[in-house]
Symmetry: C2
Subunit: 202 residues, 2 copies
DNA sequence: ACCTACCATATAACTGGTTATTTAGTGCAA
DNA sequence: TTGCACTAAATAACCAGTTATATGGTAGGT
């Protein structure tokens, strides 16, 4: 995770970009855009600061690149299946437990960057795909029609990240059992929200 | 909301502190701690910057004071009743729609200040009171025992703020009708989560 | 194989504007 | 005249971004 980032023996622009993205991910997740320090990224990436400007353009643009890379990673690693929203919530919960800094990163983006209109690459398309497949599942009576597809999506996301948002104090000090219990609660909550009511199935 | 803050004719330290807290609330909600600028607070509060240091101590301590004041306000304005969690979620939703900057403020606190151990005055006590009264309601079979009191609380909070977290883009452009629909969805979601299941009531 | 000119990669030092915080004081009111 | 509210100006550190320079790999000529 936070091993020192080592340079390859040969010069390699791609590898340097990757180190800068990795160091930027950690720095931005910890301190946000305004709080991030170029010299810390420089040191952590084991690369010169001027390369940030030649490869990415500016601090803000490095943040955008960091977001793009990590959004792509989440979309890749947490598959979405509209017929199993509780399972999706559980997998998302697992991912956030394993990568709490990425939730912080997304939050910083919302606070500091969303109003600039710069959205992470692929995010909007992915959300549209998800809500549309939720709509299809609703039409097929496989999940409740009591909420709009956007509601279902927003609630699922909110429940999966509820615990990380709610407990800023001592978030890491959780036993395996406690973690399992919370995961089950999230899955069960999404199940209660999304299973069709009796009237809907009749 | 953002009228220029005017000074009284006579010198009045309390009034100046109040202006600094108000200006600080808006500045910190907009930019966070690292992004906030003392000179903007000074200008918006119509007060000299040195007063910030003599009354509050530092930029960080001004932020803490701002948090304390606004947490007190929320606790005061959004009454909690464990027997009506859906209603509580609805009122919280209303409050957040009316004061979106306070959700931002709380989020900045989580990101920038929570790990310092400085909690807003009264928050921990209030959360304990809420979870304990949820536990009593569960014991009295008035709400589901399928979740721990902490789960119930975290989920309720998450659902009430789900929409604000989920839609950073064009959050203000919502018609009255759309807002009502979202509110209803939140209330219904909390109702589905918290009403006892058939087995529980039998 | 060897040379060499070229260019992308990389670096250290610098610049100029910004920013939190302090200081030394002014003036009002009791 | 004492203490408090308030102010303007100074200070010292900080920090994003730039520049001038060095270095290593390599394509192409001999």
């Amino acid at each position: 995770m936070s091993q020192p980032l080592t340079r390859p023996k040969v010069r390699d622009a791609e590898a340097t970009k990757a180190r800068l993205l990795q160091a930027g991910t950690e720095e931005f997740a910890a301190h946000g855009i305004a709080g991030a320090r170029i010299d810390r990224i420089e040191a952590a990436a084991n690369a010169n600061r001027a390369l940030i400007y030649s490869y990415f353009g500016s601090k803000d643009q490095l943040f955008d690149a960091v977001m793009d890379a990590n959004v792509a990673r989440v979309l890749d690693e947490v598959p979405f299946k509209p017929e199993d929203l509780p399972g999706y919530a559980g997998r998302l919960f697992d991912f956030l437990v394993a990568n709490p800094h990425l939730l912080r990163l997304a939050t910083w983006h919302r606070l500091e960057r969303a109003d600039t209109g710069h959205e992470p690459q692929g995010l909007r398309a992915s959300v549209r795909m998800k809500t549309e497949s939720i709509a299809r599942a609703q039409a097929g009576r496989r999940l409740t029609s009591g909420f709009t597809p956007e509601d279902v999506y927003a609630f699922t996301m909110a429940l999966a990240s509820a615990w990380m948002e709610a407990s800023p104090y001592a978030p890491a000090a959780l036993s395996e059992d406690q973690l399992d219990a919370r995961r089950s609660a999230v899955v069960e909550a999404v199940r209660r929200l999304t299973t069709p009511t009796k009237e809907e199935t009749s």
